[in-house]
């Protein structure tokens, strides 16, 4: 049995009076691809951001493998959090590349400054990652000179350069037009084939169905339904899930 890389238990979070996460529990095993779908405002992005320590929860446990990051809403010390950040990578909806660094620097700065790795090794790895992302020859370009799809691929390379155990994607294609969306989905599909562990918040239901092992459907801060990807999409059990999928397919 493969080991659990991420475990979330009973996450609860509120923004003022609004409860955005209500008693959420799920875990991710090594090599697994999990997609989180659901209507806007269902809490899926917040869940991912809480897992990535970009926001904190009020109740619940969070652990990365053997690393206990949060127990009943109480977070561990600085060093543990720093360790935890080495275990996941995060790809944002709006890329958030560093505009004053060129592509190469965007990818290599964190491994060099944070992980203190060897410069030659990091640059060699960065070149290979960029090649894999179809960005060879763009090493010295600046983010403003790239298309949205290229920028997002740099962002993925930047996340992978840290050698994370898990990669989080927060609606990675929502800022892109359909053509560029396919570009990014292909990259994620390739990563899935290499057994990269990933958690993807997405609106691309068909993509989620094809690429994921498991899909989690969220609504109103709850996990409404969770299951094997194709069976959840093709034969949803819950009324709320059926409604959402019907609405999406109508729109599509």
């Amino acid at each position: 049995m493969s080991k659990e890389l991420l475990k979330i238990c009973n996450f609860s979070k509120t923004f003022g009076d609004l409860a955005v996460l209500k008693d959420i529990s799920f875990s991710v095993k090594e090599g697994e691809v999990v997609s989180i779908i659901g209507p806007s405002g269902s809490g899926k992005t917040t869940l991912l951001r809480c897992a990535a320590l970009l926001e904190s929860v009020e109740k619940g446990d969070l652990s990365y493998g053997d690393l206990q990051v949060c127990v009943q809403g109480v977070y561990a010390g600085k060093n543990v959090l720093k360790d935890a950040k080495n275990r996941f990578g995060f790809v944002f909806q709006n890329f958030h590349l560093f505009p004053h660094y060129n592509v190469m620097e965007n990818v290599t700065k964190a491994p060099l400054l944070v992980q203190k790795r060897d410069k030659k090794e990091v640059e060699e790895m960065a070149r290979q990652l960029l090649k894999k992302m179809g960005l060879s020859g763009k090493e010295n370009s600046y983010p403003c000179e790239l298309s949205g799809g290229q920028q997002q691929r740099v962002a993925i390379a930047r996340a992978l350069a840290m050698k994370p155990g898990i990669l989080f994607f927060d609606e990675p294609t929502s800022a892109l037009d359909p053509e560029l969306t396919q570009e990014i989905l292909k990259v994620i599909r390739d990563l899935a084939e290499e057994k990269m562990t990933m958690v993807i918040v997405t609106h691309e239901i068909n993509f989620a169905r094809n690429v994921s092992d498991r899909i989690i459907f969220m609504a109103d801060g709850y996990i409404v339904e969770e299951g094997e990807a194709s069976s959840l999409v093709d034969h949803p059990q819950n009324e709320r899930t059926k409604e959402f999928l019907a609405f999406i397919s109508q729109k599509g």
Binding site: L54, F88, F92, L97, F98, V114, C144
Partner: protein, 216 residues
Amino acid sequence: MDYASMFSELLKGLLVSVEIFFLTLLFALPLGLLIAFGRMSKNCIVANIFRVYISIMRGTPLMLQLLVCFFGPYYLFKIPLASSYRFAAVIIAFSLNYAAYCAEIYRSGIQGIPAGQYEAAGVLGFTPVQTFFRIIFPQVVKRVIPPVTNEVITLVKDTSLAFSLSVMEMFTMAKQIASAHTTMIPFVAAGVFYYVFNFLVAFGMERLEKRLDYYR
């Protein structure tokens, strides 16, 4: 008085003006950053202290601040006035005043950086110090060059206020020569010097701006 000796007197004054200019920049630019941090502090007592500081510095005349800096130690603490303190008082008053303006410029620059930059640096494991100096500050510099240029140009002209403490900078010199020889020429010459000085400043800042033009 012949023109040659008039110009040599004015040039001597210009050197003092230039000295005030560079020393003020040297102290005010970094001090402004510290004040900006204070003003943005999450501790509301600290933030309010700096808010009041900026408010006073911007709300009262620089000439008044010069006089307070020079005469304050005597009237408040009975410390005897030393003539050698004159120049230091000018630098202190200018630095404190200009730092307040710079602080607000930096603050607007820092607060204008999208939150996503902090988040991206955060998930990559950058420490807050690394995040500020590697990611945020370089972008702030680019954003604040136009408003800082404004301040620097104003500073060139404001150095003439040191005349209120009888520091022998160019304007003080011009005024002395003008009244001693009943002539307008030193004022015209001083005006040309200030203009050329500012022309060079604007040119330099524009070059700097161009050099940072490689990204948006």
